[in-house]
């Protein structure tokens, strides 16, 4: 799916003009009149970012954030506000907003911000699929191989592993080779990186 910018604003003029601006940068745009409309349609498989007007009649920015989190939707949210102040910015960032932009904004700043958010989202999505991949690799490990992997991650020597598990060094070496193969890690250092990433 191509990354899409989701504009949520009840003001037609603001919404449509923003759509024009973002489309002029050759980005896909989807408009929503209200946060509730968006929540009805949103899925996890929609890449891109959200441009959210902070003043909404039915559901405000903070509430929307909570709802999105519940739905495990991690689209970066850019808050668009008419009058930003420090307190509001802090509240927004604490609530997990990606960034905050004040009206009237310069087009380049808006586009840059949108682009960064999209990039962040796609990186996020890439990271997540990699982790899912690592995790599925880890699924293929036998329980003994998983035990050995933990020792390898902690840089424990084979001799100590055999002593700890009460198995021969030869057996340890075999398990190690198998799990390295299943995890597609060439070196123990790489394995450590994969394990840290997937929080194995």
């Amino acid at each position: 799916m191509t990354p899409t910018v989701y504009i949520i604003d009840d003001d037609r003029m603001a919404r449509e003009s923003l759509k024009w601006l973002i489309e002029s940068a050759s980005l896909a745009v989807k408009e929503f009149q209200s946060g509730l409309d968006f929540l009805e349609q949103v899925t996890t498989s929609m890449p891109g970012c959200i441009l959210l007007d902070v003043r909404m009649p039915d559901i405000n920015g903070m509430e929307l954030h909570t709802q999105l989190k519940l739905r495990e939707i991690e689209l970066p949210v850019i808050i668009v506000t008419g009058h930003a102040d420090v307190a509001m910015a802090v509240r927004a960032m604490k609530a997990g907003a990606y960034d905050l932009i004040e009206k009237p904004y310069s087009d380049s700043l808006m586009l840059e911000l949108v682009q960064r958010a999209i990039d962040a989202d796609s990186k996020n999505r890439r990271d997540k699929s990699y982790i899912r991949d690592i995790k599925s690799r880890a699924e293929q490990l036998t329980p003994r191989e998983k035990e050995v992997m933990q020792f390898v991650i902690n840089s424990t020597q084979n001799k100590i592993i055999s002593a700890e598990l009460g198995i021969s060094i030869k057996t340890v070496e075999l398990h190690r080779a198998n799990l390295m193969n299943k995890m597609q890690a060439k070196t123990s250092t790489e394995l450590v990186r994969l394990a840290l990433m997937a929080k194995l």
Binding site: M13, E16, S17, H83, P104
Partner: protein, 816 residues
């Protein structure tokens, strides 16, 4: 002076104490004492001065004689050292006695009297009076005999037989005797041949007027009296005919008689010659412009003239000493033939006695008869009198009735005008300007003048306020007819300036003349310590006379009412200004409170415009720009900018300094404008706005911004009320307009808040009453002032279920 009054007091006391004994043999000594006390003044003040008395013929009374000649006596006193001259006004008889007894030293009398005294007591003239006529000095005078020029029956003196004739008195020289002589010469004896001779006394003017008014057929007066009256336009010479005209090169007047020398100043026989000479010299040297000469109305004194023409006249008339001579000669005859007279007398007496005896009885009978006749005659006379009285009474009643009717008519007219004025000043349907207009119009009609102008005077600035009447006759730009009249009116506060004939009053080329006004009526309208106004009326015709006192009073009343009206209007305007300013300040604060919301409101379309414009710029940089799309984007950009401009316009319109101008307002439009201004606030507060506007609402007359302000205040008030109700997520605000049968339109705002605090729906429009933590509570009180200024009704009430209803009702514009 003090001495004199003391002395007079003393005399008064003596008189009072001795009142009972005034007729006692001592009264003479009292008088002597009084005289001594009075005259000792001279003795005390200047022991050397000798008193010289001038006996003056007081033919016009003592006071006049003193007034005329006292300065002359004073003049002589100053000229002759050691003498104090006194004037003794005397009548003909008294002057005769004084001359005989020598109680006077000099005399000043008419020529006839002079020649008489000269013949009898040897007085002698030392100077003759001079008068001035134009450039000429005159020492002789004459008289005219006049009749009305339209009296065809009297052409010459002979025609005066059996006519009524008027003169000053039998003793008046110029005032009768001169004419008498001429009449005698023409065979007319005034005392036998005239139907009636009336001696009217002084002044002689009334004699001339008596002829003019046909009270007598002819009369005689001094020639210059007649001439002076003509000069002063008191009479028209052409109305009169001068009988027996005489021509004298030396007289500038028309004359009917010979000329006679003027009054002489004469010395008595026993007056020292030296004193007489000194007096004569002093008199001759009297200058014409000296106060003594002016007081005496003479041009001075000249050497004594020949008075023989006067003597001749006296002789001809057999008056004065000639009358005495005639008497004396008769006596002489009687003396000579006395025994004849006695014999004839006795014979006559005997005959008479006999005759008397015979006729006694007859006489008695006749007497009785006469008494009866007399009684009858008297009764008839009284009956006639009664009839005459009745007739005159009827006449008088008629006259009085007529007078009363005229007065009543005038009063009725005034009463009607006054009532009209009262009606105008208390008519509620008239506005200020109409009221002034009507007042002027009524005044103009009442005074029957063509134009009326009310103008303000500030320093030299004259500005027309209101006018009434023919536009062609009105001054175009500035006020009263001229500066002179304006100043007069302001200086004579409240006193009318009534000019029946402008040409006689104003000689300059004033507006008055330029406008073709011929009569004028003005009055100052004074406002306490403020601008002054003038109220003026003018007409194209001159008036015969000034208006009556009553009309002036009406004018004053008008001026007062106009002043009241102007003051009331000033007070009203200043109150309106204050209210308007207060309303504006309140709007400013409302806008201030809404600033955040309005900024957002403005930001939306501006952001949109920027976005569209930037997008279009970006698209233009592409290799093949999509022009359709770009133009569409620019259209959107324009739309946004227009929207922003609209919002700014609304705000500016709302906070502008309105000139308190009233216009025709569509209430629905006002509702829409207010809603636009507040739309974001409504959005922010999650309020749903519902309109129920009646189509084709009649227009109302009012101040659009202020009406919008009231609607906005209602809405803001409701929004805030609803904001305090947290449990309802979606509030509703209903805006409703409707027209009623009572010629009004109504706006109703219904919210879904908690309603009004109990028992406070009446107080809610009071200033500074607020149930809110913030806010001054001005909004609703301003709203009440505004609606009341628009003659409307404002109301607030709690609704039964929930929420409150605010409403106002305004009268619709009356279609004329």
């Amino acid at each position: 002076m003090h001495l004199v009054s003391n002395r007079l007091g003393l005399i008064a006391n003596i008189m009072k104490n001795s009142r009972l004994s005034i007729k006692s043999p001592y009264s003479f000594s009292f008088i002597a004492l009084i005289s001594a006390l009075l005259y000792c003044d001279t003795v005390f003040s200047s022991s050397v001065d000798e008193t010289i008395r001038i006996g003056v013929l007081a033919h016009r009374g003592n006071a006049e004689a003193k007034r005329r000649w006292l300065p002359m006596a004073n003049y002589l006193s100053t000229q002759l050292k050691g003498y104090r001259f006194e004037i003794q006004p005397l009548d003909l008889q008294a002057i005769q006695i004084a001359a005989q007894q020598g109680t006077i030293d000099f005399t000043l009398t008419n020529p006839g009297n002079y020649t008489d005294l000269e013949a009898r007591y040897g007085i002698s003239r030392i100077a003759t009076l001079q008068t001035r006529e134009g450039s000429q000095k005159r020492v002789r005078y004459g008289a005219v005999i006049i009749t009305r020029s339209d009296n065809k029956n009297i052409q010459k003196l002979e025609d005066l037989k059996d006519k009524r004739f008027m003169a000053v008195s039998k003793d008046a020289f110029g005032g009768f005797q001169m004419a008498w002589r001429e009449l005698l010469d023409h065979g007319i004896d005034p005392f036998d041949d005239f139907h009636e001779v009336i001696f009217a006394g002084f002044p002689q003017d009334k004699i001339v007027l008596a002829v003019q008014n046909n009270l007598v057929d002819a009369a005689t007066v001094r020639a210059e009296t007649f001439a002076h009256m003509a000069q002063l336009n008191l009479i028209k010479p052409s109305d009169f005919r001068v009988l027996n005209p005489q021509l004298f090169a030396s007289s500038p007047f028309q004359l009917s008689t010979r000329l006679y020398p003027e009054w002489p100043f004469a010395t008595l026989k026993d007056t020292p010659l030296e004193l007489a000479t000194q007096v004569a010299q002093a008199l001759f040297s009297l200058q014409e412009n000296h106060s003594a000469a002016i007081a005496a109305n003479i041009a001075g004194w000249t050497v004594p003239l020949d008075y023989s023409p006067v003597t001749e006249l006296m002789q001809r008339l057999q008056i004065g000493h000639f009358a005495v001579q005639h008497e004396t000669s008769l006596l002489a005859i009687v003396k000579r033939y006395i025994h004849w007279f006695i014999a004839a007398g006795i014979a006559v007496i005997l005959l008479l006695a006999l005759n008397g005896y015979i006729t006694r009885t007859n006489h008695r009978l006749r007497e009785t008869d006469a008494i009866l006749r007399e009684e009858i005659r008297q009764r008839e006379a009284s009956q006639n009198d009664l009839a005459r009285y009745r007739d005159t009474l009827e006449e008088q009643v008629l006259e009085r009735t007529q007078d009363l009717r005229i007065t009543n008519q005038a009063l009725e007219k005034s009463r009607v005008a006054l009532r009209k004025l009262v009606e105008i000043t208390s008519a509620p349907e008239l506005n200020h300007q109409q009221r002034l207009q009507e007042l002027l119009e009524t005044g103009r009609n009442y005074f029957e003048l063509d134009v009326a102008v009310l103008a303000s005077i500030e320093g030299d600035q004259q500005k027309i306020n209101t006018t009434s009447g023919n536009a062609n006759l009105l001054p175009k730009t500035y006020g009263p007819i001229n500066q002179r009249c304006a100043s007069y009116l302001i200086d004579h506060s409240g006193e009318p300036l009534d000019v029946p004939d402008v040409a006689k009053y104003l000689t300059d080329d004033s507006v008055c003349n330029q406008q073709g006004w011929h009569s004028y009526l003005g009055i100052g309208v004074l406002l306490e310590g403020k601008i002054n106004y003038t109220l003026e009326f003018a007409g194209t015709q001159t008036r015969k006379q000034q208006l009556s006192q009553w009309d002036h009073e009406i004018l004053k009343v008008m001026a007062q009412w106009i002043a009241d009206e102007l003051e009331r209007q000033m007070a009203y305007e200043s109150q309106r200004r204050h209210e308007t300013e207060f309303a504006r300040v309140s709007r400013m604060s409302t806008i201030g409170e809404m600033a955040a919301s309005l900024a957002h409101e403005l930001n939306q379309p501006l952001t949109g415009t920027i976005n569209y414009s930037n997008s279009c710029l970006r698209m233009l940089k592409e290799e093949t720009p999509d022009t359709d799309k770009i133009s569409q984007g620019l259209k959107h950009a324009v739309e946004g900018a227009t929207m922003a401009a609209d919002i700014i316009r609304h705000i500016r319109h709302f906070v502008q300094k309105d000139e308190a101008l009233y216009s025709q307002i569509d209430l629905n439009q006002a509702v829409k404008n207010a809603a636009t201004l507040i739309s974001h606030e409504i959005q922010r507060q999650h309020v749903i706005l519902v309109f129920e506007l009646q189509h084709g609402l009649p227009l109302i007359e009012g101040n659009l911004i202020q009406i919008e302000q009231v609607i906005l205040n209602f809405m803001l008030n409701s929004i805030e009320a609803m904001d305090r109700v947290k449990d309802i997520k979606h509030h509703q605000l209903l805006l409703k307009t409707q027209s009623s049968k009572q010629d009004t339109v109504k706006l109703i705002v219904i919210d879904s808040g908690h309603g009004l605090p109990e028992n406070q729906s009446a107080k809610i429009f009071d200033t500074f009453f607020s149930t809110k933590a913030e806010g001054m509570g001005i909004g609703l009180s301003i709203s009440r002032s505004i609606i009341e200024a628009h003659q409307g009704i404002i109301q607030a009430r709690s609704l039964e279920k929930s929420g409150a209803e605010f409403s106002f009702e305004l009268p619709i514009t009356k279609t004329a």
